[in-house]
Symmetry: C2
Subunit: 373 residues, 2 copies
Amino acid sequence: AGFFISRCIIVGDEKEEIKEAVSNALKKSEIVFITGGLGPTSDDVTRDAIAEMLQRKLFFSDAIWQKICERFYRRGIKEIPEINKRQAYIIEGAEVIENTVGTAPGMILKEAGKTLLLLPGPPAELTPMVEEWAKTLKDTSEAEIKVYRFGISGLPESSVEEKIHSFFSEKGIKYTILASPQLIEILIASRGDFKDIHIVEGFLRECFSENYLGIDPPALPVLIGNLLKEKGLKIAIAESCTGGLVGKILTDTPGSSDYFQGSFVVYSNILKRRILGVPKTVLKKYGAVSEECALYMAKGAKKKGKADISISITGIAGPSGGSKEKPVGLVYIGIGLPKNKFHIHKFIFPGNRERIRERTAYQALELLRKYLI
Amino acid sequence: AGFFISRCIIVGDEKEEIKEAVSNALKKSEIVFITGGLGPTSDDVTRDAIAEMLQRKLFFSDAIWQKICERFYRRGIKEIPEINKRQAYIIEGAEVIENTVGTAPGMILKEAGKTLLLLPGPPAELTPMVEEWAKTLKDTSEAEIKVYRFGISGLPESSVEEKIHSFFSEKGIKYTILASPQLIEILIASRGDFKDIHIVEGFLRECFSENYLGIDPPALPVLIGNLLKEKGLKIAIAESCTGGLVGKILTDTPGSSDYFQGSFVVYSNILKRRILGVPKTVLKKYGAVSEECALYMAKGAKKKGKADISISITGIAGPSGGSKEKPVGLVYIGIGLPKNKFHIHKFIFPGNRERIRERTAYQALELLRKYLI
């Protein structure tokens, strides 16, 4: 089993546009996913458009209306807006997929041997529905498509490509590189098991050593959480320019309370002093964005956060506040380790405010990972 | 001037797919934006695909190569990967758009009276390039398309729709509703000035009173920042289950140091006690997720954060940790105001961990907004 994605088309809330796009997609593909436009409001026209396109009727389902009402009651809402009734209409012949997260149910439709899936737009709603549906798929004669993701951290995309290109070309292995602020992924798709997996792994490990994260590596915050749990260490953060982003990323992982004590977002200098004990003289002499301040922040976070490990971050995220000596993008990251060891790293990140903050957060986590392995 | 977006097509890194999608789009539209696939790696094939489709040659540009090298030098990288040379190739007849954020330059191509724009994929890179290009557009005879965004906060999409539907139907005004965790937007597009703007504004103000945010309202964190600046108030946050998200959102806005003191991400109970002074007896008797704990957190944040205003958040983001009395999604939000006033609000949010945390953060900001206006 397994399918290749041929393309993805986005159209506006116009019935005719939706009908044309879906009927074209049906000509080219076995399965068509249609997402969004199942909401209660009058611009949600997908349900009607698909019914028209397939020339099928819409039926009001009492059972679905009951479920929608229960969802509102649970949230303490007694007067259910009348327009939510639109969401209880089902296309003739459809199999309903229950929506456990939101109100709009999904539908599976068969037409001339092909499958259409009507799904709500919010990813949190449609993901579990697609997973539920995928379980019902029978294996076909073809071998399963498997996608192997090899993770590389802490290097720019072009350096990764430069190092791997000739190896993969010689072996005739097709690959895709995906870059994100977290990591670089080398993707290899194969029908059935990928036979050269050990050769590729060996090559990548030799080539990237500690930057090679393995196959299907967990996300960086999960990796760090696992390392901290293994070693029985607790972490606390001191953040300035990232404003809480590092704490947010670390607590994206359920169960992070096992190792995450907290984060001191000391945006103002007064809190850097009062909460973390950065000396007034340090702030005066070197400024808040300095190696010295990062060091005191890392020390303060460890002590006040009752932690074994700390990360400190101070920098200039911009767009204003930069100078010739301290340009926008200048960031100091401190890492506090057991036995009173502290390491401060200096970076100058390109990009806008959002990008600088994001890169800073992931760079801090990547630095910590290297100290922990 | 002004253009309607007809559709958006996403295809894989396959030359033939790209060529087919772009040549189809050219038949239907005046302007085609092509984004992504201009990177240095071998799966970046868009440049080659478009050159083939238009039957034009590719030229190596010394001037662009120079700029790419300078970008690397500024980042302290001396050995520039050879593969970045791919990014210095320009399609015959193209006008180059400079990329001030990344390495890949953009191109404007004219073909049979139509315009193609080749742009890099990262939004941070392509947005300024499109804005630069848009400035060069000459006015046509048609009136400009203007989009009016009316903001409504703190209400679900279906309630908003229910309240406005008959008004807009009667007036014959076409609108779209956009829902995000931050706010509901009613969008009205018009060729030239929208004449009924005052009637619509009057209606929405009467209908939604303090929930009506006005036309093109700033984002919620900006609105709050403006209110705090106007009143000369400083804010500090105490976060538990959001892990730093509220601080992150408030500091997305440049200049937030004018009013944002910091955030105490007290994820562990020991930090709730030691940093914010939540009494041990409160944690023991009522638990960390309680009205009482939220109150002490709001008090502690105000005091320790040297602030006039505070927000406190404690809840169960899940997926585990819930019970019958305290289900996943239960959140207490505290608001600390001047003159020692504190208000605690209880919520039960549906959805997964990510959604609960996001809704909690924006609900806290929305609550604060109402107390500040």
